[in-house]
Symmetry: C2
Subunit: 447 residues, 2 copies
C-alpha cells in the first residue's frame, strides 16, 4: 500500500514495444494505466490495450479522457470494441457505442449477446443529459415479500456483474420501486427477517427524463451515493452512482466557464492551431463586429470629438466600467439561477436589488471620476459629463446584466451566454452611445 | 414514496407559530426541512429548531445554507449548540464549532463530553481546506488478524454513531492502515474467514495535509464513495465521504467564477446594497483606474489624434479584442492547470501553442478589419495601421493571458485571478499603447 495512490504516475518510454509497456503497467489501478496512456498517441494506446486482458482493457478505456477515447475507438475494429463493451457496465457500454458512427455502431451491436444488445439499445434511446442517459441497467433488486437471505443471495448472484453495490432496491410484483435496503441493514438484519420489515420505504428516486443537473442537485441535497431511476409508471429501470454525478458536475461547470470565456473546453486537448482558432474565432468576430459598431457610433459624434478631443480619452473608462459591471451582474444572476434551479424569483425583484447596488457604485465611482478628471483637466463641465455618463453606464450595464440572462432563458438559450463576450460587446456600444450622446447634448458648455 | 423527492417543497406561513411550523415539517427529510427554513428569518429558524427534537434539529442544521447557519448560530445559546453538536458527526461538529467566535467556542466545548471535545478540538487543528479539515473521525475499523464476524460486530457497534458505512478499514497493531473491506465483501464472506484473507490490500488513502482539491481529484480518478485519511506515520485517523467532496467541488468552482467576474459568491445571499457594493467596488476601482490610465495614454498621443481623429474611433475595437483574446487564453491556461493539478507543462510550450493560435486569429482578423476599414474610410494607410495594430494586440493579449497565470502561481496567488478584470484592464492599456504608438510612427502616411 502506498501512502497515497494519487502519487502513482507512470511515464512510458514511447520507443518501447506495446507488449513491454503493457508489462510495465500490469497491476496498476485502471485509472493510473489510463493516465499513462492519455499521454501516448492513439495508435500506441490501441496497441497497448490489445496487449492487456480484455477485462483490464475495458476498465482502462472508460478512464481515458474523452478525446483519447474517441481517437482510440476510431482505430479499434468492431470485434475488439464488442469484446470490450461486453465487459463494461451498461452505462459505460452505451457511452462507448454512442460515440461510434452509425455503421460501426450497428456492427458492434450485432456482435453483442442479445441481452446486452437490448440493454445498450434501450439506454441509447435516452437523451445524453437526462437521468436515463447516464443511468446503468445493472442493479440489485428484490421483491418486498422476500427474506433478507433472498436479498443476500441476490447480492451474491450480482456481485460479478454489478461493480459497486451500495443498496438493494425493493420492488412490488409489478416492478415498481417501493423501498431500499442499504447493505448495512443487510449486514445487521436478523436471520429470516422479511425485506418489507427492514427496508426503508422513504426512498429518494429520480425519473428517466429528469435533467442530469437536477439529478446532481438531488444527490447533493440528500447526500446520496446512488439513486434508483424509475420510468413514468414508477417501474425501477436503472440506477445512477455518484461517480457519474461528479463527472456531471465537472462537465456543467466546464461548460459555464467556456461560455464565459468565449471558447470551448474541448480545445484543451486540441493541438492544431487551426482547429482551436475555429473554436475561438466566432466569439472574436462578435467582439470585432461590436468594436466596429462602436467605431461607427464614435464617427457619428465626430463633430463633438473634433471640438473636444478629450472626450475620446475617456471612452476606455466607459467601456471598461460597462464591461465589469455587466459581468459582475450577469454572473451573480446566472449563478443564483444555477444554485436554485429555476426557483429563483423572476426578473423584477432581482432587477430592484441590482439597481440598488448599481446606484451605490454609480454614485461612488461617478463622483470619484468627476473629481479626478476635474482636477486633472480643470474642466468642470467635462468632468461632470464623464462622471455622469459613467454613473449612467453603470446603471445601464447592471440592467443589461440582469435582463439578458432572463431573456436568454426565456428563448431557450443557456443564460450563461450572458456572461460571455456577447453582453460585454453590447455594453461597449450602449455605453459609448450614452456617453457621447450626453456629451453632445452639453457640448456648448465644454472647452 | 413520491416519484421524486426533489419535488418536496414546503412553504411555511411566516405568521404561524414556530410550534405549528415544526408540526408542518415533521417527517420530512432534514434537507427538505432545511430548504424550507432557509427562506425564513434567523430568529424564526432558531425558534423552529428549538421545537424539533435535538436529533432532527442537528440533521437539519447541517443542511442549512452557510449564511443561514451562521445567522442561526449567532442566536442560539451555547447549551443549545452543545446539545446539537453532540448529535453531529465529528466533521460537522467541528464545522459548527469552527464558525463560532472564540468565547462562544470555548463555552460550547466545555459543555461537551470529554471524548467528543477531544475529537472536535483535534479536527479544529487542521486547516480548513485540507483533508484533515474535511474528514470525520467516525469510521469502522478492525484489526487485520480479526475474523469477518468480528468485523460485522464492529459494524453493528458503530451503526448508531456512524451515519453511512461503505467500508470497514483494516489496520495493523500500530493502527496503520493496511487494507479495506467493502461491505459487499462482508455480506458475501464465508463464516470464520480471516479479515486479512478477504480484505483488499490496495486501498487508496489520502494524508491529512493534502489539499481538498487534490482529494477531490483522487475521488474522481478512482470513483470512490469514501476515502480513509492517514497521518504522516500512516496511522488511520479519519475518513472523508463523497457528499463532502461534492461540496468541495462546488465551492472551488464557485470561487473560480467569482474571481473571473470580480465579485464573491457570498453576495448572493446578501441583501444590503451597501455590503454588496463593498464586495464589488474593489474590482470596479481597478477597472476605473485602468480606464484613467488608458485616458492618460491617449492624452499622450493627442497630437496624432488631433491630426487624424478617426484613429480614436478604433480604440474600442482594440480594447475589445485584447480583452476577449486575453480572457480566452487565460481561461484555457487556468482550466488546464486545474485539470492537471500542477502537472501542466511549464509556460514555455504553452506559450508556443498560444502564439500559434493567436497568429492564426491575428492574421484572419487583422486582414478582415483592414479590408473593412479600407473600404469604409478609403484610407489604405489608416486601414493598415488599424489592422496591423489589431493583429499585434491579439499576440500581446495572448502572451499576457498565458504568462500571467504562471506568474501569479509562482508568487502564490490563485491563477484564476488572471481571468478577472485585472488582466482585462492591463490588456486595455497595453493595447492602446501599441495601437497609438504604431499609428504615431506612421502618422505622416495618414490623412
Amino acid at each position: 500500500m502506498s501512502d497515497s495512490r494519487d502519487a502513482v504516475n507512470v511515464t512510458l518510454d514511447p520507443d518501447s514495444t506495446p507488449a513491454s509497456m503493457a508489462r510495465q503497467l500490469a497491476g496498476l489501478h485502471p485509472a493510473d494505466i489510463a493516465a499513462a496512456l492519455d499521454r501516448l498517441d492513439p495508435e500506441t494506446t490501441a496497441r497497448v490495450l490489445g496487449e492487456l486482458d480484455t477485462d483490464t482493457a475495458a476498465d482502462v478505456i472508460i478512464h481515458l479522457e474523452e478525446h483519447a477515447l474517441e481517437d482510440v475507438l476510431d482505430i479499434l475494429g468492431p470485434p475488439e470494441i464488442a469484446d470490450i463493451t461486453t465487459e463494461l457496465d451498461s452505462d459505460d457500454a452505451a457511452d462507448v457505442v454512442g460515440v461510434l458512427d452509425l455503421d460501426k455502431q450497428a456492427e458492434v451491436l450485432s456482435k453483442l449477446e442479445p441481452d446486452e444488445r437490448r440493454e445498450v439499445e434501450e439506454l441509447l434511446k435516452y437523451t445524453d443529459e437526462s437521468a436515463g442517459g447516464i443511468m446503468a441497467s445493472e442493479l440489485v433488486y428484490v421483491n418486498q415479500d422476500a427474506t433478507v437471505e433472498n436479498a443476500i443471495e441476490m447480492v451474491r448472484a450480482a456481485a460479478d456483474e454489478v461493480e459497486e453495490i451500495h443498496n438493494v432496491y425493493v420492488t412490488d410484483k409489478a416492478g415498481r420501486l417501493t423501498g431500499v435496503l442499504p447493505l448495512r441493514a443487510l449486514v445487521l438484519a436478523r436471520h429470516g427477517a422479511k425485506v418489507a420489515d427492514v427496508m426503508n420505504p422513504d426512498v429518494v428516486s429520480v425519473s428517466t427524463e429528469m435533467d442530469q443537473e437536477v439529478v446532481a442537485d438531488v444527490f447533493r441535497k440528500y447526500d446520496l451515493v446512488a439513486v434508483p431511476v424509475v420510468d413514468p409508471t414508477g417501474k425501477l429501470v436503472g440506477r445512477i452512482t455518484v461517480d457519474d454525478i461528479i463527472d456531471v458536475i465537472h462537465e456543467e461547470a466546464d461548460q459555464d466557464f467556456s461560455l464565459m470565456a468565449g471558447t470551448s473546453e474541448e480545445e484543451i486537448h486540441e493541438d492544431s492551431a487551426l482547429r482551436v482558432s475555429r473554436i475561438r474565432l466566432p466569439w472574436l468576430v462578435i467582439g470585432a463586429l461590436g468594436g466596429l459598431a462602436s467605431a461607427t457610433v464614435m464617427s457619428l459624434f465626430h463633430i463633438s470629438l473634433e471640438k473636444v478631443l478629450a472626450l475620446a480619452f475617456f471612452v476606455p473608462v466607459i467601456t471598461a466600467m460597462g464591461g465589469n459591471v455587466g459581468l459582475q451582474t450577469s454572473t451573480i444572476i446566472v449563478r443564483s439561477m444555477r444554485s436554485e434551479h429555476g426557483l429563483v424569483e423572476e426578473g423584477g425583484s432581482r432587477l430592484m436589488r441590482e439597481w440598488r447596488i448599481a446606484l451605490v457604485n454609480a454614485l461612488i465611482l461617478g463622483v470619484a471620476v468627476l473629481l479626478i478628471v476635474g482636477f486633472w483637466l480643470s474642466d468642470v463641465a467635462l468632468a461632470a459629463i464623464v462622471g455622469g455618463s459613467l454613473a449612467t453606464v453603470i446603471l445601464v450595464a447592471a440592467t443589461l446584466g440582469t435582463v439578458m440572462p432572463f431573456a436568454l432563458r426565456r428563448v431557450g438559450v443557456d443564460p450563461a451566454v450572458a456572461q460571455g463576450p456577447f453582453v460585454t460587446t453590447l455594453n461597449d456600444i450602449v455605453g459609448i452611445l450614452v456617453y457621447l450622446g450626453l456629451a453632445s447634448a452639453f457640448i456648448d458648455r465644454l472647452g
